[in-house]
Subunit: 441 residues, 2 copies
């Protein structure tokens, strides 16, 4: 063993790896998200990280996406999942006969995208998805439920968000109504990036598509519609007579009314017609949540309605609506901005320090206290002084000093580390005092 | 979309994918394991699933193991982790200056082994590991703590286990004492598989190594030592005067005394000198837990002490002791043998069924009940009869029928699905009744 070569330990770049105390906070936040999903009667799904490339790349016709981790094992062409939606589609298509509809599943799991490493981008990240899938049809109440869950999740996490909501049919129909059906996709692409490129550049790009000047003005005007639903809805509903447009307005109204009935926080939801969310996939309701005090974080949760989840895997029709939180990126931003809830430096209530030959008795005492508290024994072979110093550094609130005399008398020295006072107590009195003074109880 | 080719949905073979109701049980059991690890002051670690091949294959000198998923992305030679121990070693070597020792970490995560698919073997499986790492040295109390955790984890899971414990130095020293230092590894390999190949075949194989007949008898005799610690320890301690042997006996005694002081269940721990656990890695305490009523399950949890965790990544010495549960395999066995705790077919306490134009009010009622119960609204566009039938199939305990008259009078029809009785109640009375009758409260 001694002569072996030492390999410099390092991890792959672009992969988050937290220190255990931060991981504890990370995991607790995931538990909170999970608790909201479970409260809304979503059930967990855990699909494999690996899928057949044929399945995962069905959408792209099997074309290699540079971001996807793809390899062969034996004769099998395999990909690591890059989202949780394609696996859900595959699952629903495989098991559609036995599922209960609306099928409400959540999945909290890692996905993989081998994109160029850069700050804030991760090649492995946890997504927290929740989707409601219908069999043939799905009520718009489901869209309301997703908005309500976004509200509850971020309230639980203690983060002030605003969820910006639209319905894609509104813009689709409006553009169609102006007579630009042929240029629809190109126009949407330009409007979708208007915040990035600026209004003037967007206008120029629209001009290149031969959009009339007055129509460009109308397009810019409509995507600037943003505000409370009750205020904005009346202002937009007469902007076009196009059927798709009217359908979008009507759906959005209905979804909003459900959200309102569900008691969604009115300050946390805005109608915003600039919400487009890419080009494909979504077909109705779309939403993106931001943290207004930190707009630079961008979208912290997004989602929407899609007509057909599993069109690549089934001839049946499974409309759905869902939300997704890119949790690793969000956590990274919160950590970098000191926005994580205060993380106690220890969760240990009591540390027992043996003095002399009392280890056995200390372990027995530990069992006694552990029934109601977090208790540990400082069993390592170090000096009493070193152990006290270490307990101090760890912010352990109470120390029980157990020497041979203490064992004989069954009275122990309990030291309050915050104020350095010490009391001599029976174990029962120690426990009573600790239970009284420990924040957990 | 309509003309696109349908790809038959399928998953990779050898990968577990549970139905959501079973996944709920799976997740709940993981939460229970996690709660025991946290109670013992272990902190979570979550290393990436992908590692540099140089790191992950350090032990094998970079040699390809057929089981490992290995591929290149750009110029990077990457592996999927096949256990959680090498990543832990890498982490400790990287961060050893800032860790607090003994460093107690748990990791519950998926690992990957592309072995030949067969019943009960999975290519992706969840491992639940907990390890205690020392800086230079580590007290044998840590070994006792691992035994105690095995005890607690399986008690929490409601599974009756026996943890079979040995110390590898006992056999090492005994064989050395008989004069077979050169044949040590080969002898251990044969003894390790004696239960598989049978005593007679083992004897023949030992004969081929030119082991003397009386020594073969001694070897067979010593590995048959099995029973309560208090009974077996006195019977073995004089079997050899070899120093390694005596060290092993003394360590085992010490670990047992700690385990006893920790209040470990005496029926659930056995001294068993046949426990060898492969050839490398472990250097002291070794243990394997089985379920006596289902010996055919094999080892459901194993672990032990190792001298040096990170010898490939650091010149420093990090002794450790840990336990590992191959959870996916265990869950699969429990499910196949109907040994999972009764899984309620629903966790919904109340379903609200709208009759007529009452959806908005139903959603408001849902918010009221959801503060204390699991409540859902049957909002899909289906007949009342179909909804009732479905609620019955789902074993939903209570239904609230909300028609337009009910809204007007603020009195609702609450139906107990178990006995088909119906009461007309205010929402407050409904809630009170449900809280009284719902098992959760």
């Amino acid at each position: 063993m001694n002569e072996q070569k030492i390999i410099k330990p390092r991890k792959l770049s672009g992969f988050m790896e937290l220190q255990p105390k931060d991981q504890l906070v990370f995991d607790n936040m995931l538990d909170q998200i999970k608790s909201v999903y479970l409260k809304h009667n979503f059930l967990p799904l855990d699909t494999p990280v690996l899928e057949l490339s044929e399945i995962l790349l069905a959408k792209s016709g099997g074309e290699i996406d540079k971001e996807v981790y793809r390899f062969t094992k034996g004769d099998t062409d395999i990909c690591m999942r890059y989202d949780l939606t394609v696996p859900l589609a595959r699952f629903v298509a495989m098991h559609n006969e036995t599922l209960h509809y609306p099928f409400k599943r959540f999945q909290i799991g890692k996905v993989y995208r081998g994109e160029r490493a850069q700050k804030g981008r991760f090649r492995e990240f946890v997504q927290c998805d929740a989707d409601i899938i219908g069999n043939g049809e799905l009520s718009l109440v489901a869209d309301g439920e997703c908005l309500k869950m976004v509200d509850e999740v971020f309230e639980k996490l203690g983060l002030d968000i605003v969820n910006q909501v639209s319905n894609r049919n509104i813009l689709f129909g409006y553009i169609e109504g102006l007579g630009y059906q042929k240029e629809l996709k190109q126009i949407l692409t330009i409007l979708d990036k208007i915040n990035k490129i600026g209004k003037e550049n967007a206008k120029q790009e629209l001009e290149k598509l031969n959009i009339k000047t007055q129509d460009i003005a109308k397009l810019i005007e409509i995507i600037e519609k943003r505000g409370n639903f009750d205020e904005i809805l009346p202002k937009i509903e007469n902007l076009s007579t196009n059927q798709t447009f009217l359908k979008g307005v009507s759906e959005l109204k209905e979804v909003y009314s459900y959200a309102k009935n569900m008691g969604i926080n009115q300050n946390k939801i805005l109608l915003d017609l600039s919400i487009i969310r890419g080009q494909d996939y979504y077909t109705g309701t779309v939403f993106e949540a931001i943290i207004p005090s930190h707009k630079e974080f961008g979208t912290v949760c997004g989602g929407g309605r899609y007509d057909n989840l599993a069109s690549y895997f089934s001839e049946k029709n499974f409309p759905g609506v869902g939300l997704s939180i890119g949790f690793t990126r969000l956590f990274d931003l919160l950590m970098a901005n000191n926005m994580l809830k205060a993380n106690p430096s220890t969760n240990i209530d009591l540390q027992i320090i043996p003095l002399g030959n009392t280890l056995s008795e200390c372990l027995q005492l530990q069992q006694y206290f552990s029934q109601q508290l977090q208790c540990e024994v400082a069993y390592e072979n170090r000096s009493f002084k070193a152990k006290m110093k270490d307990a101090n550094k760890q912010n352990i609130p109470y120390i029980l000093i157990v020497g041979e005399d203490e064992i004989k008398n069954q009275i122990y020295a309990l030291k309050n580390m915050a104020n350095s006072t010490q009391q001599n107590l029976s174990k029962e009195d120690c426990l009573a005092l600790l239970l009284k003074n420990t924040s957990k109880n």
